[in-house]
Symmetry: C2
Subunit: 270 residues, 2 copies
């Protein structure tokens, strides 16, 4: 047993969807969350910048006594983890590999769609892992850069969003994919419109869910599961104003975190 | 006469629309441009974070021998300049005051619309200056957070953009405004669809144009106009990958800046 905390980070508050899954699946675990709200988004930035920011996020989290770190951000998982994951003395997991494995298990016709930020799609990280899982799998990836601002602007249910989704998802529908990886933490919040556009026969993979299961499995295998939670079970840090974060974050988490978030000067953790 | 450079900065490359106006109006001036592409956008971030970033942008530019600094970013002009502009030994100008003055001159019915980022609209900076110009002026401000991602995703001419513009601009149309300030550097790139939605009788104010004229006026009054340009007349610095910037920036400027942009670690200029 190991009562140390799990560290979890994201470019902003989207990673709270992953945290919610972890909280449900592992109610004894204590978690410290960092959201890089001062430098969000990562999905439009260059490889070197995403690696630099991911390093500093991990360096900040490492100031706590942790047993594992989870990268909730799709872009950081896709771009930075291949360069960084093995450099630490504790496991550092991302969302890409668990989601790819879940998709490889789910597909029946061997054709998998991937949607994500520009950075995630450019990295080709999903295709590389899917090919390792099963070289016969066909992958079709499409960047959907407007999905994050549409979610953050409260446009999830609007007609314009459906119109944009129809255009983005066209190549994936045409490929015949029977499984679609929602490769960015915000995309599960567009699940309804994406499911409408893709049709009922397509399985949507939420990387947050797949990752939470693999975290549980990994902790179990290594004998690292927690016996009981810390007094302050959940801690939240952000690099921009914590009150804005707490307001929106309570929606993402479906529980109030008002007053629990603190600000950190992330640029110091180089 | 004063041959020192003008410093110009923006949260990203949108400020190049302001630089283009300056280059046309003042062909003898030498300009150094900084785009904070590693921390873009500013429009969704908190007041304190925008002030912090604006300070570091100015601190970096001050490493050059400058005679004036222009804040091309609408959000930094609206939020940070009221706190910072008087702290420097050279003039630091923003886009808000010149655009507000141009709008006050243009309006016939005294009703002016303002569109900008969340940060700009929350700051109420335009209304404050318009009231000083003429207390009888009515101001209607609307945040249009999707306009920047729509421009950056190449959606300026799409049907979804028109649908979103119709929704955003509705309160301004209903107010009867005869003048509309495009209060963010990206918005002039949506001029066509905004003009279609607003109708022909509404005057659109491009803050870049108004600012370039006021810069020329200010330099003339203070005897600071340049006699001849430096050998390297235009220099470009960014905080993310300079090659991405140069590609898109050449479109914004309508001239190639390929190979001219350099990267700077802006987080060091605190």
């Amino acid at each position: 047993m190991d009562n140390r905390r799990i560290g979890l980070f994201d470019s902003g508050l989207g990673g709270l969807t992953v945290m919610k899954e972890l909280m449900q699946l592992l109610p004894n675990e204590s978690i410290v969350y960092f959201g890089d709200t001062g430098r969000i988004p990562y999905g439009t930035k260059s490889v070197d910048t995403v690696i630099k920011y991911t390093k500093s996020d991990i360096n900040f989290l490492k100031t706590f006594d942790l047993k594992a770190i989870v990268t909730a951000c799709g872009t950081a998982s896709a771009i930075a983890l291949p360069h960084l994951a093995n450099q630490y003395d504790i496991p550092v997991m991302g969302v890409v590999a668990p989601a790819a494995r879940a998709a490889a298990r789910a597909t029946k016709n061997g054709c998998i769609g991937v949607i994500g930020t520009n950075g995630t799609v450019r990295s080709d990280a999903y295709r590389k892992i899917l090919e390792k899982e099963n070289p016969a799998i066909q992958t079709v990836s499409v960047a959907c850069p407007l999905f994050v601002p549409l979610v953050e602007s409260g446009y999830a249910e609007k007609a314009a969003t459906k119109m944009i989704a129809e255009e983005y998802l066209k190549p994936i529908i045409e490929s015949g994919a029977d499984t679609l990886i929602l490769g960015c933490t915000h995309y599960p919040l567009l699940k309804k419109v994406i499911a409408e556009v893709m049709g009922e026969h397509v399985t949507l993979i939420n990387p947050g869910v797949s990752t939470a299961y693999e975290v549980k499995e990994m902790l179990g295998e290594k004998g690292l599961l927690a016996e009981e939670p810390h007094k302050e079970q959940y801690r939240f840090y952000v690099s921009d104003d914590p009150s804005d974060f707490a307001k929106l974050g309570s929606l993402f988490l479906e529980r109030s975190i008002s007053g629990l978030a603190e600000q950190v000067d992330i640029e110091q953790y180089i």
